[in-house]
Amino acid sequence: MQILVVEDDRVLIEGITTALEQEDWIVQQAVTGEDAWFLGSTGDFDAVVLDLSLPELDGMEILKRWRQEDVTTPVLILTARSGWLDRVNGINQGADDYLAKPFRMEELIARLRAIMRRSRGHSKELIKCQQVEINLLDKSTKVNGRFVELGPLEWRALSHLMINAGKAIPSYELIDHVYGPHSERNANAIEALIKRLRKKLDAPLIHTRRGAGYIVRNEGDANP
């Protein structure tokens, strides 16, 4: 999962990045309002952690612009402004949650999981496609009820495909979500990764759609 963290305090952004990376999430940082707006408008993120007091462009203005541009990425506002009217305004402007500083990292991660889950339309942390079931909370994978051990890269690829089940994911998007946006890897690396994943799962879950990418189909879906 790819998260955009927008925060102008170096210590804080590094602390958040480290904690989120420990969750096997790909983190992109933005320390100015303009950078944040650009990345959020052009990148493909599963969630955004957004500080409000930013140089160049205020966080609330960025959020407003994203929503006007139909960027639907779930946004968690992380700010020192803890007034209730600020929180209500944040939610009314299109934020999905609001966390006041200082905060506990577990709470930030739990809130991020919650907003991503809500945005995907899943009510729980469990996602099941055909005989494969993944748990986003403990990052476990079961095939026909049996646990399968996956490496971090394999987990990232599988979770992204299953979260977006029914939708073809192009290789470049998978590269971003698995290796990070600044990675030098190419489609061959993804192809090799998918091959490993298919072998571990030993189930006809991931399909290749020529020219479009990879797709996980739910039961009952029409053939790609």
């Binding site: 305090d9 210590v11 804080l12 602390g15 958040i16 904690a19 007091s53 020192a80 402004r81 803890s82 007034g83 209730w84 009217l85 929180r87 209500v88 944040g90 939610i91 009314n92 999905d96 949650d97 609001y98 006041a100 500083k101 200082p102 905060f103 506990r104 990292m105 709470e107 739990a110 809130r111 919650a114 907003i115 809500r118």
Partner: protein, 454 residues
């Protein structure tokens, strides 16, 4: 509030000083008028006496033996009535003295004095029964049968007639003057009341400002007070600017501190993984620092009746927005939120303050509720009652009275700084409202707020 020693009112001062001035002026005026009247009467009397004197002389008949008679007695009845107050006397030097019948057996005792013919002298002497008299006197020299005779003619009038006229005049004048004084004082009282009315209007204006209903004095004051009102408005503006700057600086400082505190907090969380005692201590200190910062931030946020912009705030939409915000927080979606608030229900207070009240109480209910939170707002008379309750485990009766104590937490397992309820208590009491904690019908804690609706 300082106890200001109330000095005599301006109205009383003006009335008292005006009454004194009026009394002195009317007394002096009365005295002067009486004096003028008396002088006038005396002049009239003297003129009359002169007329009588001239008539006495003109009617005098000198006999060959030098004696003299007068026919004036035939013409003036008062000269014939004993002690009538009007007298005449003709006396020949070294000879007889002829008097009016009114003098009866008395004589006019005039000072021995040599006077020239045609010279008329006036005296104030004692007459019959020792009564004061005004007397005019003239000497006439006649040569009769080769002998020079000196005759003195005198006419006198009882001065008490002048005195009684003066007394009567004074009495009538005093009544007139008193009436005038009363009328003038009443008119002045009305004038002062009317004149001081703009000053009196300042009191409700100051009350409106101190209660937060108004921010400035209106510009509808007379030119004498307008500069003072302008100065006061300018002072209020300056005070507001200073307050706003101070609040902004405090808020900025508090916000500025929260980010580094968040950074330190994250570092401590890393240290916690090694079960470091020092980390626990630092964590506790950071939590205290954060509570302090949060408290200062709250102080800057609470606007209250003095600095807040009181406006009509609809409760239902704001409560809905806050519940929507809370539903995104942990367990927020699992709770059944119910509202019993009329759509047009409004309270007049600062929007920030209302948001803090609703936010803190609903958030507190969210943390403790098992599955239900209910908010109810209703109006009765001039008060608005707001009740927020949950179905959590509530508090023990002895804890209910302590719930508003700042920073007090009855359970450390739940999130929060322990300031939320204390903030609500401060805001509500700041608006002159009441705060009550009770065991709710849902089973958990209930908070009842009674707020003035205007």
């Amino acid at each position: 509030m300082n106890n200001i020693k109330r000095r005599a009112s301006i109205k009383r001062r003006l009335l008292l000083s005006t009454t004194l001035i009026l009394a002195v002026m009317l007394f002096a005026g009365g005295w002067a008028l009486t004096h003028l009247f008396e002088s006038h009467v005396e002049r009239r009397v003297e003129k009359e006496l002169h007329v009588h004197l001239n008539r006495l002389i003109s009617t005098a008949h000198f006999l060959k033996d030098g004696s003299v008679t007068s026919k004036l007695t035939d013409m003036a009845v008062r000269f014939q009535t004993p002690y009538s107050g009007l007298y005449w006397q003709i006396s020949e030097r070294g000879g007889k003295t002829l008097t009016s019948a009114s003098l009866w057996d008395a004589k006019l005792e005039l000072p021995e004095e040599r006077i020239n013919d045609r010279e008329v002298l006036e005296y104030k002497v004692r007459g019959p029964a020792g009564r004061p008299l005004i007397v005019v006197r003239r000497q006439l020299t006649r040569q009769i049968a080769g002998k020079i005779h000196f005759y003195e003619f005198a006419v006198g009038l009882d001065h008490t007639e002048v005195s009684s006229a003066r007394k009567e005049f004074s009495k009538e004048l005093a009544i007139g003057m008193t009436g005038l004084a009363v009328a003038l004082i009443l008119l002045l009282g009305a004038q002062i009341t009317f004149g001081l009315a703009p000053l009196r209007h300042l009191i409700p204006a100051v009350n409106a400002i101190s209660s937060g209903k108004a921010k400035r004095f209106s510009d509808d004051y007379p030119v004498e007070i307008a500069p003072l009102v302008e100065k006061l408005n300018s002072l209020l503006e300056q005070q507001e600017i200073v307050m706003e700057r101070s609040r902004a600086r405090a808020a900025s400082l508090a916000h500025g501190l929260k980010t580094p505190i968040a950074g330190i907090s994250l570092e401590i969380q890393k240290l916690h993984q090694t079960d470091n005692e020092a980390a626990r201590n630092i964590d506790e200190m950071v939590a205290r620092m954060n509570r302090q910062v949060e408290r200062e931030l709250i102080r800057t946020r609470i606007r209250g009746t003095t600095h807040g912009i009181k406006r009509k705030n609809l409760v239902a939409p704001l409560a809905r927005d806050i519940i929507r915000t809370l539903m995104r927080q942990p367990r927020g979606e699992e709770i059944t939120w119910t509202m019993s608030i009329a759509e047009d229900m409004a309270v007049i207070m600062d929007t920030d303050d209302l948001a803090e009240i609703l936010g803190n109480l609903l958030d507190n209910a969210r943390k403790w509720a098992h599955s239900k939170v209910h908010i109810e707002v209703r109006q009765h008379d001039q008060m608005v009652t707001m009740i927020i309750c949950d179905d959590g485990r509530g508090l023990r009766p002895e804890q209910l009275g302590q719930i508003q104590d700042r920073g007090l937490r009855f359970d450390d397992h739940n999130e929060g700084s322990g300031l939320g309820v204390a903030i609500v208590h401060d805001i509500v009491t700041g608006y002159g409202g009441e705060f009550q904690a009770f065991q709710s019908e849902l089973g958990g804690l209930g908070i009842r707020l009674i707020l003035p609706s205007s």
